[in-house]
C-alpha cells in the first residue's frame, strides 16, 4: 500500500468537472484507490463519492492505493491534482 498527503489547489475544489476528470483517470487502474478526507474514506474511482466528500480548495487529502499498479496510480493521482485537474 502506498499513501501520500496532498493539498487540493485548483480553484473549484473537487466539483463536478475536476472530480469527473480525476475519477475517470483512476478507473483504468486495477488497484484500490481511496481518498481519506476528514477521517472518512471515499472511492476515488467514483465521481459521486468524490463529490460527496465536498473537498474544497486548500483541503488536505490523503490518497491511498493498494494493488499491483499502486505506484503508477499514485503518480497519476498526484500529477493530476498538482496540475489543477483541468482538461
Amino acid at each position: 500500500m502506498v499513501s501520500r498527503k496532498i493539498t487540493v489547489t485548483n480553484e473549484q475544489g473537487l466539483h463536478m468537472r475536476p472530480a469527473s476528470i480525476f475519477s475517470q483517470a483512476m478507473t483504468p487502474f486495477s488497484c484500490d484507490i481511496s481518498i481519506f478526507f476528514k477521517d472518512k474514506k471515499y472511492n476515488a474511482k467514483s465521481v459521486m463519492m468524490l463529490m460527496s466528500a465536498c473537498i474544497k480548495r486548500g483541503a488536505e487529502i490523503e490518497i491511498r492505493c493498494e494493488g499491483s499498479d499502486e505506484e503508477e496510480a499514485m503518480n497519476k493521482a498526484i500529477s493530476l491534482i498538482e496540475g489543477g485537474l483541468e482538461d
Partner: protein
C-alpha cells in the same frame, strides 16, 4: 405581482403554458425473474444514455459546449460505479428497476442537498433529473413536446429538466418561470445562453397560474405580473421594446473600433482578477487588459506563491490575450486587503500605512520574484507592469533599478523577455497627482485609479456610512485632479489610462473624452456599453460640457448638469 430570482435578463410578455408534472406511480413488486428485470433495467440505462447524448449534441451545436456540460455530467454520473452498478445490485436481490433507481438516486439527492454549497446542491438537482428521466423511460411516460408550443409562450414548470430545456427555442418561448432553481442552475444557464427572460424560484407559481393567463416576466428585476392591468402591460411593452433596442444597439458595437462620434480612436480595455477572466475580456470584446490585479495569487493561499507559480499565471493570461496588451499591477496589499501569512503588523491607519509599493520595496526578495515572473512571462505576450500607490519619484526609480538588475540576471541566464517592456505608474494618491509632471518623466504610461484617488483626495473612508456621502468622483477637486493628470501625461507624451470603476460611468465619459484620456479600462460586461457611450460624443460637445462642469462649485451641481446632458 410575485417575485423570484432574476436568472436571465430581459422582459418577456406572453401566454402561459404550465408543464404538468407526470405522476410516476409504480408498484414496488418483488421480482422473481431477476435476469429479465436486469435486461429491462440495462435497456432503460442504454436508452437514457442515447437520449442524453443526443440532447447534449443538440445543445452543443445550438447553444454551446459549456451549456452541454450539464447533460454530459449526467452521463458521467450514470456511468459511475456507485450509480448503475448499485441499482443493478439491488435488482439482483429481487427489487424492481423503479425502486432500485429511486432508492439509489434518493440517497444521493439527500446527501448533496444537505451540503452547504450551491454547486453541490445543484448536483442534487442533477440526480433528481436522472431519476425522473429513468423512471419515465421505465414507465413509458412521454413528455410534452415543447417544440410545438405557439410563439409567445411563457413556460411555467416546477423545474425544467434538461430534456425540457433542450427543446426550448427562442422563437416560441418568450419567458420562463419555475418554482425551483437559482442563478447557477442549468435552467438559468440555458435561459441566459438563449437570451430568454427567466425568473426562477417563484413560490407556488405552477398553482398561481393556469394555461392562457397573460404574464409579464421581468428577468432583470426578478418580477412577475400575472394577468396585469392595462397600464402595467403597456408600460412593460414599452420597457421591452427599449430593452430589445438597447441590446441590439450594444450588439452592433461588438467587434467595432472604439471611437468618439467625430472618429477619434481610444482604447477600451478590461479589468480582470484571474487568468481565466482574460477569456471573459476577449469574449466581451475588450481590446486588452488595463488592470490585471495580481492579488488573487497571494490571497487564499497559505504561503507566498513561487516565481514559477506566478510566471505560469501571467503567461497563461498573456497567451489568452494573444498579443493584445495586458497591464499587470504588482502586489497591492495592505489597506483593506490582508494576507495572513505575510504577518503584516496591525496598523492604526492601514490606508495611510505600509501597503502596496511601500510594502513591496520593503520586502525586496518577494518583490523580485514577482517582477522576474512578469518579465519572463513578457516573452509570451504584450505585458506591461503597473506600480500601485506611488507617492514619490524615488519609488519609481527603485522599481526601475530592481528591474534592470533582474533583466541583467535574465540576460546572463539566457532567459527570454520583452526588452521593451513598459513600466507604468498608477496615479491614485493626491501626491502623485500633484507631481504627475515629475512622475511622467519616470514612467512609460499612467493609469488613474479613481477609487483610491477619490478616497484620498476627499479624505473619506467610503466604508464609513457617516462620511460615505462625500465619496464621489464628481467633486470639483477630484475632477481637477483627473484633468491635470491627463494633461501632464499628454505634455510628456505618454498615454494615460483609467482603471477605476469611474471609467465606465456614462456621466464621466464625456469629461474623460474632453480631458483626452487614451485608454478606458472597465469590467468586461461593461465594454459594449462604454463603447456605445463613447461613440455618442464629439470632442467639441465634450469640451463644451467640460467647460461648464469645471465652472461649477459643487458636486450636486455637477452631477445634475451631467445627468441633464447624458446620452444613453
Amino acid at each position: 405581482m410575485v417575485n423570484g430570482i432574476p436568472a436571465s435578463r430581459g422582459i418577456g410578455i406572453g401566454s402561459i403554458c404550465v408543464i404538468e408534472e407526470h405522476e410516476l406511480k409504480y408498484e414496488a413488486i418483488k421480482i422473481e425473474d431477476t435476469e429479465k428485470e436486469q435486461k429491462r433495467f440495462h435497456e432503460a440505462i442504454e436508452q437514457f444514455k442515447k437520449e442524453t447524448e443526443e440532447m447534449a449534441e443538440d445543445i452543443r451545436k445550438r447553444i454551446g459546449p459549456k451549456e452541454a456540460e450539464i447533460l454530459e455530467s449526467h452521463l458521467v454520473m450514470i456511468s459511475d460505479p456507485t450509480m448503475a452498478d448499485e441499482m443493478s445490485n439491488m435488482i439482483a436481490t429481487g427489487q424492481c428497476s423503479e425502486s432500485a433507481v429511486e432508492a439509489v438516486c434518493d440517497m444521493f439527492i439527500g446527501m448533496f442537498s444537505k451540503m452547504d454549497d450551491e454547486f453541490m446542491q445543484q448536483r442534487a438537482a442533477d440526480v433528481s433529473d436522472i431519476k425522473l428521466s429513468l423512471l419515465k423511460i421505465l414507465l413509458g411516460v412521454q413528455d410534452v413536446d415543447i417544440r410545438k408550443l405557439p410563439p409567445g409562450t411563457i413556460l411555467v414548470a416546477k423545474d425544467l429538466t434538461p430534456s425540457m430545456t433542450s427543446q426550448i427555442h427562442k422563437e416560441n418561448v418568450a419567458g420562463i418561470l419555475t418554482e425551483m432553481g437559482g442563478k447557477t442552475s442549468h435552467s438559468a444557464i440555458l435561459a441566459r445562453a438563449l437570451e430568454i427572460p427567466a425568473v426562477l424560484s417563484v413560490p407556488n407559481i405552477t398553482s398561481l397560474v393556469k394555461d392562457k393567463d397573460t404574464a409579464i416576466v421581468d428577468g432583470t428585476e426578478g418580477i412577475v405580473y400575472i394577468n396585469p392591468e392595462g397600464d402595467t402591460l403597456s408600460s412593460y411593452i414599452l420597457k421591452r421594446e427599449e430593452y430589445i433596442r438597447k441590446q441590439s444597439e450594444l450588439k452592433n458595437f461588438h467587434g467595432k473600433e472604439t471611437k468618439t462620434a467625430d472618429g477619434a480612436a481610444v482604447e477600451l480595455f478590461c479589468n480582470i482578477g484571474t487568468p481565466k477572466d482574460a477569456r471573459k475580456a476577449i469574449e466581451c470584446d475588450g481590446e486588452g487588459v488595463g488592470l490585471f490585479r495580481s492579488e488573487f495569487l497571494f490571497m487564499d493561499n497559505k504561503r507566498m506563491p513561487t516565481e514559477e507559480e506566478q510566471f505560469s499565471a501571467y503567461k497563461e493570461a498573456a497567451e489568452i490575450m494573444g498579443g493584445k496588451p495586458i497591464i499587470i499591477r504588482t502586489l497591492d496589499i495592505g489597506g483593506d486587503k490582508d494576507i495572513p501569512y505575510l504577518n503584516m503588523k496591525k496598523e492604526e491607519n492601514p490606508f495611510l500605512g505600509y501597503r502596496a509599493i511601500r510594502y513591496c520595496l520593503g520586502n525586496k526578495e518577494g518583490y523580485r520574484a514577482q517582477l522576474r515572473a512578469m518579465l519572463r512571462a513578457s516573452a509570451f505576450g504584450k505585458i506591461k507592469i503597473l506600480i500601485p500607490l506611488v507617492t514619490c519619484v524615488e519609488e519609481m526609480r527603485s522599481v526601475k533599478e530592481l528591474l534592470s538588475e533582474i533583466k541583467a540576471d535574465l540576460d546572463a541566464e539566457g532567459i527570454a523577455y520583452d526588452k521593451h517592456i513598459e513600466l507604468g505608474c498608477m496615479i491614485e494618491t493626491p501626491s502623485a497627482s500633484l507631481i504627475a509632471d515629475l512622475l511622467a518623466k519616470e514612467a512609460d504610461f499612467f493609469s488613474i485609479g479613481t477609487n483610491d484617488l477619490t478616497q484620498y483626495t476627499m479624505t473619506v473612508d467610503r466604508g464609513n456610512a457617516d462620511v460615505a456621502y462625500l465619496y464621489s468622483t464628481f467633486h470639483p477637486s477630484v475632477l481637477r485632479s483627473i484633468k491635470r493628470i491627463i494633461a501632464c501625461g499628454k505634455e510628456a507624451g505618454i498615454p494615460v489610462g483609467m482603471c477605476g470603476e469611474a471609467a465606465a460611468d456614462p456621466l464621466l465619459i464625456p469629461l474623460l473624452i474632453s480631458f483626452g484620456l487614451d485608454e478606458f479600462s472597465v469590467n468586461p460586461v461593461l465594454v459594449l456599453n462604454t463603447r456605445c457611450v463613447i461613440s455618442k460624443w464629439t470632442k467639441e460637445e465634450a469640451d463644451a460640457l467640460a467647460e461648464k462642469v469645471l465652472s461649477l462649485s459643487t458636486e450636486t451641481e455637477i452631477t445634475a448638469l451631467l445627468k441633464a446632458n447624458a446620452k444613453e
